[in-house]
């Protein structure tokens, strides 16, 4: 029988890197500055009863908003309103977009017979402001990842990422700036105006693939912060109201308003579920949930980042962590109901982003689905992949 060593946690405790010793953080330069800024903020007001589709921004949305607040760069109504952040009333849902999503919900293809692994292959792009050699410019970082979710007993779930990475200057002007910088092999990500995120470097060329194990016991996926087994995923209610209620209970369990806005959260969770091994009813209801969100609007015919034709829908913009105000969009193949891509489009770029040539309407991040379906075999892990 396997004997448990009583000291393994102790050994781990002793192995804690010095850089994580809380004593090292007592003299943080930002600490007092942040405290003064935070305690100057108004308390969130209790939500008054309202009728109609009213979305309430209960806490600062995303890090960029919070960072702007704590740095004292407060704009708009949020800081000046002693009752807390303002309520934002949104227009009723656009009829077109609802139709697009409902049609998608009805035309979803059959997923085929269940097999050992659910494989989701995606291509990500991200527009990253960087600096090198005294120049500032924007690069487009592209990569693929392959998530393989083992649904049978004894199978592992793996996520292989950093595949086929390319980093290229975004525009001819960025290309010129990159050349002036001496075509460096390493780029430094540009810090936010508030001072965070400086000094982080990335190679301009390829990167080694990485692999993560993503299962824990029977759990293979998390809806919000709640881990779910494959059986849990199959047991999600297919009825749209019941599914919405289930997702909202998980929103509350994940910290609710502390993690951001409920509409944005539902939008992301529903979009993620559509690409997961769930029942046809759940996929269909996920589209219906998106269609019923306040402020959802139609973008008409669009092409996804891979050039595939589809129709687009968007929810109201929010402050993003890294790119100012962004609008989240879905691109759906209206013939098959397949979710082609999810992307973030820049709205109202701040001065730093404008100076780098980023404009209203530019796609700053995207995730395109290359393949979602069953496979008999585990994903191939490249031999040079790093765990």
């Amino acid at each position: 029988m396997h004997r448990e060593r009583p000291d393994v946690l102790g050994a781990l405790r002793d192995a804690r890197p010095d850089l994580l010793d809380p004593a090292r953080f007592t003299g943080s330069e930002r600490r007092e500055r942040d405290l003064r800024a935070i305690t100057a903020l108004p308390r969130a007001a209790a939500e008054p009863p309202r009728r109609g589709p009213v979305l309430r921004w209960a806490v600062p949305i995303g890090l960029a908003a919070a960072a702007a607040l704590v740095a004292g760069v407060v704009t708009g109504e949020t800081a000046g309103d002693p009752q807390g952040p303002p309520a934002v009333a949104l227009a009723p849902a656009d009829v077109d977009s609802v139709q697009v999503l409902l049609r998608a919900a009805e035309t979803l293809p059959d997923l085929g017979a269940e097999s050992a692994y659910w494989r989701l292959v995606t291509r990500q792009t991200s527009a990253l402001p960087v600096r090198a050699g005294g120049e500032r410019f924007v690069v487009t970082d592209e990569s693929e990842s392959e998530h393989s979710i083992g649904v049978r007993p004894g199978t592992e779930s793996l996520r292989v990422w950093n595949l086929h990475v390319t980093t290229t200057p975004r525009t001819p002007a960025d290309e010129e700036a990159y050349r002036r910088a001496g075509s460096p092999a390493e780029l430094e990500l540009l810090p936010e105006p508030t001072g965070g995120r400086g000094g982080l470097t990335m190679p301009a060329g390829g990167r080694v693939p990485r692999v993560d194990r993503t299962d824990s016991g029977d759990d293979v996926y998390s809806v919000g912060d709640v881990n779910s087994s494959y059986a849990d995923l199959l047991a999600l209610p297919g009825d749209v109201d019941a599914l919405r209620a289930e997702l909202l209970s998980r929103f509350a369990a994940s910290g609710g308003a502390e993690v951001g806005d409920q509409t944005q959260w539902l939008f992301q969770q529903a979009a993620a579920l559509i690409t997961m091994p769930v029942t046809a009813e759940v996929r269909s209801s996920a589209y219906r949930i998106v269609a019923g969100l306040p402020g959802v609007r139609s973008l008409g015919r669009v092409t996804d980042p891979l050039g595939r034709a589809g129709v687009g829908v968007a929810v109201a913009p929010e402050r993003s962590v890294t790119h100012g105000t962004v609008e989240r969009q879905l691109v759906v193949d209206e013939r098959t109901g397949v979710l082609l891509a999810e992307r973030e489009v820049l709205r109202a770029p701040d001065e730093q982003l404008r100076a780098l040539g980023l404009a209203d309407g530019d796609v700053v991040t995207s995730t395109s689905t290359l393949r979602a379906g069953w496979a008999d075999e585990q994903v191939r892990v490249p031999p040079d992949a790093v765990r």
């Binding site: 060593r5 090292r24 943080s28 935070i38 965070g196 502390e258 790093v386």
Partner: protein, 174 residues
Amino acid sequence: MIDAHRFGELYSDCYPRVLAYATSRVGRQLGEDVTSETFTVAWRRREVLPSPPLPWLLGVARNIVREALRGEDRQWALAAAAAEREVLGTDPASDVVERAAVLQALGSLSEPDRELLTLVAWHGLSAKDAARVLGCATATLTVRLHRARRRLERATAAAELSAPPRPAVALKEN
């Protein structure tokens, strides 16, 4: 109701541990942003802050990091990968075999196992408090911790057999 003075005390008490946690996930610089947002949320919710506040604060910080990483944002992914390399990296020249082995073993475990073990061993939480951070029942957590600990123990034994000790993860990407 917590007033500004009491909030200041709570902030002084908890700030280093929240920042240490955030740093372990995404590095010092983004970690400071995460910590700021965490206490901003706490200030806005100060009427309902639980006691002790630390597990709640770490839960908020964890959610902020998770939501940022869920977006597949390259900057956050890079920061998280860099933080992981820094935290799990060992120095073969100076590290004792046992330390290198346990870090290598930790690096070989699944992300949920690593998270649970480090919340307890590195961030000093009890099983009950770790359960609050992770949003599960204490009984569930106790079972998970027991299993994770056994997996760590096996992986450590395996790592000790493989000499010389290697870094848990590659320290350089090409």
